[in-house]
Symmetry: C2
Subunit: 281 residues, 2 copies
């Protein structure tokens, strides 16, 4: 399969490497606005060559968009303006509402499959890409009914070969769940990091004592602003909603501790423990 | 070495298994108030036998206390009341201020070495114990100067054989750093879990979308109330101090998002990214 990947960071780079590792792509063209990332992606063998957008789209069987979510909608339109009836376009972004609205009336809408592979790390750039990404995780496909069945089937088959489970959701449902399950975690992690860096003047202590749990809860704080600000912006309503609830619950915990109400803390913690039911690992 | 371990949960159980795996302990006696845990620890070969406290202390070369931190101080005194000049007592608790104050004037204080191995998981009970725990992490030893040099040397040697690095701190410093680096992470995780369980009515969605980062930030929410409430209680002042700062910083983030101040969000995230310097993995 001839594949074009637009955006050769963590997600696009990993997708290209995985497609090659699984023998799905024979020829991979990259589009990348950063000359540094482009050079690195070539050096690492992530893509065979780098081309400008118009040339990269022409003749590709699959075009995958893996750029920050604020750029996806317009880029999707530009690509749909050029595709023929045998080409498939997908995006891999973390929000879906804005994108699906922007492309909704496009005459070539049916060649687009909106996807969100639920995988990522706190690292970014082509150097962070790995070939064994995605496996064992799920991919969400949004508004399947607006895509050609054959295009959906091809995309699902590709994700299955990468070891992923397929989920179906409408775009609004997706953005709501993503706020709960992914976006808020990044905020709690960013803020945990700023708080500890603010309060803990001895950075060596953070490093030395990191076995105490901080390392896993603050891991996502390394994530890139370029990726995450557009996500918070596009999903602002849902993100604020969960964030306000989170702050409210934190204040309940704080007040219970202030007044030595350990019965209340016990109730909060047993409710929190219920997450065992859903996170089995 | 003849060792007695008091409390056969995650920490005590893992310590016993590790001592045996490294050939440090030949004979391990357990003291355990829960008959279920005691039976399980015997079944899993964590200890050779279970004895009442007084008998278990008699003749042991090393007595390790691994019970919740609210029970440690009184238990430490009871044990120090019985030990002879060739026995060593350690604790493995997550707070040190209260304990060190309670035992400070005890005539046998010098036989006690206050330690905190910086390792743990979100699981509890003897079933959660593993033999390869502790390795690669640090252990904090508090108020070394109040322990006999020979006792400290023996304890350090044991921890080194388990693959741990040794850190020295006074008890107050320890509790302050532990609040920043460990205790607050558990609170953010507990509350993330309660928030998501509260807001996300479709638990299946949490499970299916867990690759998005929630799994690592909410992992600690499985931790046991029996362990953590006593820690929050004993370290209340430091924990509240970090918690208030955390809520304050979250509110700054929330307000910036509310007023679409993405410059401010970018500044917050770049400050958060600085954690890369201290968490290298």
């Amino acid at each position: 399969m001839k594949v074009t990947v637009i955006g050769l960071g963590l997600i696009g780079g990993s997708f290209a490497l995985a497609l090659r590792a699984k023998g799905i792509a024979t020829d991979i063209v990259g589009v990348e606005s950063s000359p540094l990332h482009a050079a690195k992606a070539l050096e690492l063998g992530i893509v065979d060559r780098i081309l400008p957008l118009a040339e990269a789209v022409e003749g590709a069987e699959l075009i995958a968009i893996a750029v920050p979510v604020d750029v996806i909608p317009q880029l999707a339109v530009k690509i749909l303006n050029r595709v023929t009836a045998d080409q498939i376009v997908i995006d891999m972004g973390s929000t879906k509402g804005e994108l699906c609205e922007i492309i909704s009336q496009h005459p070539a809408r049916s060649r687009f499959v909106a996807t969100h592979p639920m995988w990522g790390t706190e690292f970014s750039g082509p150097e962070a890409a790995t070939a064994d990404s995605f496996a064992g995780r799920n991919v969400v496909i949004c508004q399947k009914e607006l895509s050609d069945a054959e295009a959906v089937a091809t995309v699902e088959q590709i994700y299955r070969k990468l070891g992923m489970g397929i989920l179906e959701m409408d775009a609004e449902q997706h953005d709501l769940h993503a706020a709960y399950v992914s976006h808020i975690s990044h905020i709690t992690s960013f803020i945990l990091s700023t708080t500890v860096l603010e309060k803990e003047r001895e950075e060596e202590a953070i490093f030395n004592l990191a076995g105490g749990g901080f390392d896993s809860t603050a891991r996502l704080a390394k994530s890139s602003a370029d990726t995450w600000i557009p996500i918070f912006k596009q999903n602002k309503y849902n993100v604020l909603d969960v964030l306000r609830e989170y702050i409210h619950q934190l204040n309940l915990f704080r007040k219970a501790l202030e007044r030595d109400d350990y019965k209340e803390l016990e109730q909060i913690i047993s409710r929190a423990n219920q997450i065992k039911r859903v996170l089995q690992k």
